[in-house]
């Protein structure tokens, strides 16, 4: 079971990782600063595999990859949102942080709820009901299967992407 950390609409990368805290590439330092002002205590409260459930346009704003990196390093198992900002979504996929578009889940859960997540299938069970996330694109699936974009390109080159487009 994963515990839900629920966030609202339009959570920006400035909220996830304020520009005054990302002058480092150290995942542990970034994890400590994750939501440091928007939701103080977040990093300490997360247990490995917990879930962020958010409203629309999650991760809007700056392209700083420090944001998904911090969420992943904090131990979050997946982010499920009504919708994602484009760059954040792509960054998360590239890093191997599971991101699931599932418009219905947002209204169905509260902060602290316990849910079951099947990350590979994008399946979430909450309060006895099943919610199905939207399937990722072929390219996103290919990157996720490899673990990260770097791993995919390192082992398969662009051919690994060209064969699924």
């Amino acid at each position: 079971m994963a515990r839900v950390f629920r966030f609202g609409d339009g959570v920006s990368t400035d909220a996830i990782m304020p520009g005054r805290y990302n002058l480092t590439t150290d995942p542990a330092a970034l994890a400590r600063a994750c939501f440091v002002e928007h939701r103080p205590g977040f990093a300490d409260a997360v247990r490995p595999g917990d879930l962020i459930v958010a409203g629309s346009n999650f991760g809007c704003g700056s392209s700083r990859e420090h944001a998904p990196l911090a969420i992943k390093a904090a131990g979050i198992g997946a982010v499920v949102a009504r919708s994602f900002a484009r760059i954040f979504y792509r960054n998360a996929v590239n890093l191997g942080l599971p991101v699931i578009r599932c418009p219905e889940l947002y209204q169905a859960v509260e902060d602290g709820d316990q849910v079951e997540v099947d990350i590979l299938r994008g399946n979430i069970r909450a309060h006895g009901r099943a919610y199905q996330g939207e399937p990722p694109s072929a390219v996103a699936r290919r990157i996720s299967e490899a673990g990260s974009l770097v791993e995919l390109i390192r082992t398969g080159g662009w051919a690994a992407i060209e064969e699924v487009i």
């Binding site: 909220a15 002058l23 590439t25 346009n57 392209s63 990859e65 662009w158």
Partner: protein, 410 residues
């Protein structure tokens, strides 16, 4: 045939591509800056591949330059050492990447540029397909010269009529964002067109392309015409337009009735006409950024500040977008005007926009900025408030110490 983005990508790939298809394409140039660069370098180094092309790899020191902390100095050092190891000579340290990249010829009509900064969409004003990405994507492009793109569907914003006095591209962008919402163009290409856009100077077109990402767009494009080539100082290479295109949506706007717009905290789509917010007290005014830090923006602010004094309780900070902008502003007397008016002129760069360098806001403080982001915490304390407006409104507000209408001064 097709939308502007379909046209650019089709020409580059030598085959017709349509919205919805995914393509792998070679880029002209790959850029990262002092904050996103080190993570891109880490991604690049994990690949174990040589650098694709040192001459087409660019690092810009602008987000925290000159460094104001040991941590930032360390990031700069890592980039410089990487550049030395890999024979990268394009280390730009003379202003905001999006201003300097255009000045130094890294952006060409019909080209493809990717940057580890969301406002890389700015280059679309020159008819270049340009988009912001994270550091991993940029690291991969540094190694391979390529990236993958889903060809986006297009939202065409067709602007008719003439922009009224004191109404600028910034106001047009904010108006569109109010109508469509902060994710109104998510994953889309925004094509800015129509007579009001063709008659705009390049500086204003750059503002439109820049702010396209602030309502979610993958790129924001303007058609290429004689003004585009002239701005780049290049011989006229002909027009590049959409033709026979199928759009996801077309938004038609009559600019004639627009008034200056202000985005209220805490979101970019929280936009109201200036008249409804006039009188709001301000602790800080910031004139600069990749949205409005070019010479034309400083010129417009200087017209109002000439011979006047900014309000004593409102710190006014002016940051030229680039060294070239700074030098022109010096030659034309704008810097003299700003300093005599009591404004602080800082070194070219991103300035207070991201709260990391100077002009950082404290709790309860209120700023009006010509940048394009007003998320809580963007310019400092999450309890500070950020209003966004054009440089004329910013100058009038600096004089009044509160949000003010420049039309009363002109």
């Amino acid at each position: 045939m097709g939308t502007l983005v379909e046209e650019i990508l089709s020409r580059r790939l030598g085959r017709r591509v349509r919205a919805g298809q995914t393509v792998v394409a070679e880029v002209d140039c790959v850029m990262a800056h002092d904050v996103t660069g080190p993570l891109a370098i880490e991604a690049f180094e994990s690949l174990g591949m040589p650098l694709w092309n040192p001459e087409r790899t660019v690092f810009s020191f602008d987000h925290v330059f000159p460094s104001n902390s040991v941590a930032a100095s360390e990031l700069h050092r890592r980039i410089r050492e990487f550049a030395t190891r890999n024979q990268v000579r394009n280390l730009l340290a003379e202003g905001i990447c999006h201003v300097v990249m255009v000045e130094q010829g890294f952006v060409r009509p019909g080209g493809i540029v990717v940057g580890a900064d969301s406002h890389s969409t700015t280059y679309g004003a020159l008819g270049c397909f340009a988009t912001g990405m994270g550091s991993t994507d940029i690291g991969v492009t540094m190694a391979t010269g390529r990236s993958w793109f889903r060809v986006p569907e297009t939202l065409r914003v067709e602007v008719h009529g003439e922009l009224p006095r004191a109404v600028q591209a910034k106001d047009l962008a904010l108006h569109v964002i109010r109508r469509l919402g902060a994710e109104g163009a998510n994953y889309l290409s925004v094509e800015w067109a129509g007579p009001a856009v063709s008659s705009m100077g390049m500086s204003e077109r750059l503002t439109l392309a820049n702010m396209s990402v602030d309502f979610g767009a993958k790129c924001g494009l303007c058609e290429v015409d004689a003004a585009t080539w002239a701005y780049l100082g290049l011989p006229d290479g002909g027009e590049l337009r959409a033709s026979g295109a199928r759009y996801r949506d077309t938004l038609t706007i009559d600019a004639t009735g627009l008034e200056p717009q202000v985005a209220e905290p805490p979101a970019i789509d929280n936009v109201r006409p200036l008249s409804e917010l006039a009188g709001t007290r301000l602790d800080e005014v910031f004139i600069g950024s990749c949205a409005n830090g070019r010479i034309e923006d400083l010129a417009t602010a200087a017209t109002l500040l000439e011979g006047r004094q900014v309000h004593p309780e409102t710190r006014t900070i002016v940051v030229p977008g680039s060294r070239r902008t700074y030098l022109l502003a010096l030659q034309r007397g704008y810097i003299d005007t700003f300093v005599r008016a009591g404004a602080v002129v800082m070194a070219a760069g991103c300035g207070p926009c991201l709260g990391r360098q100077h002009g950082t806001l404290g709790p309860g403080e209120r700023a009006l900025s010509t940048s394009m982001r007003n998320y809580p915490g963007r310019m400092g304390s999450p309890e500070a408030e950020i209003y966004l407006a054009n440089p004329l409104v910013a100058a009038a507000s600096a004089l009044a110490g509160a949000i003010a209408d420049p039309r009363e001064e002109l």
